[in-house]
Symmetry: C2
Subunit: 129 residues, 2 copies
Amino acid sequence: MIETDHQLSTCMSILKPVRDSLDVLNGKWKLPIIVALTFGEKRFTEISKEVHGITDRMLSKELRDLELNGLVRRNIEESYPVKVTYQLTEHSKSLRSVIDSLKDWGILHKQRLAEECREYKKVKKVLIK
Amino acid sequence: MIETDHQLSTCMSILKPVRDSLDVLNGKWKLPIIVALTFGEKRFTEISKEVHGITDRMLSKELRDLELNGLVRRNIEESYPVKVTYQLTEHSKSLRSVIDSLKDWGILHKQRLAEECREYKKVKKVLIK
DNA sequence: GATATCGCTATACTATAGTATAGTCCTATA
DNA sequence: TATAGGACTATACTATAGTATAGCGATATC
């Protein structure tokens, strides 16, 4: 019982950091934007063209979010006219393993669902016979 | 150029499975429910009591989602009255590494943000001087 | 007979995420 | 002078996630 409580509280303490990570990555556009910035800095309209379907409003907001979370840096070139570029930060590289982990599980999960579906069809076939 | 296109398409192919994983874990209640079921099967009202603040409607919906994704199994005991229990599946155990990865990054990220904040204060101090 | 528990569902609402469309202020170019 | 691009912001909308509250049909308990 004490053991269980201890384990449970351990589990609970996992929830907060997991939520933090999910919040940073969540939404429809964060990851596509990160991908677009993977091979060097880009300008607002360049990102907008690469991330198909995003509106200016969303891009502006998501870039601000990513900047606040220290994943993206906004550079202003003091030229005429000013040139604004966005690039990934060092910190953003630490996301690599998280993304890999999510990708691997996503693939595994799809396979599992497909297997389950085949199982179901097999069962149905037997039942029909 | 060809190289870059190739790398980009690789990145894009990562997006879908990552999205799949995020969709499965997303929302306010999925993870707390999974935690509640970590130490054995539980009944509807037991989960409801452990996951503080969740409404019956949400619990019902989220359990159905988790069941559809093969993470939770619903058992009906044919007794009078019927007893319904929920438990984690084998497949749900494969989430372990994903959750660990998210947790680790969440902790790292908080630290990074805290450091950045200290940096900022240092800079501000210098500027005020 | 009245009340309580179990495992939900129904209805109606609010809050947050995302979309659609237009406009602004700057400079550059035809 | 007109048009276009860059980097946004403003306004208004829709869609999805989540909340609040109530009810229901079964059994069990007082």
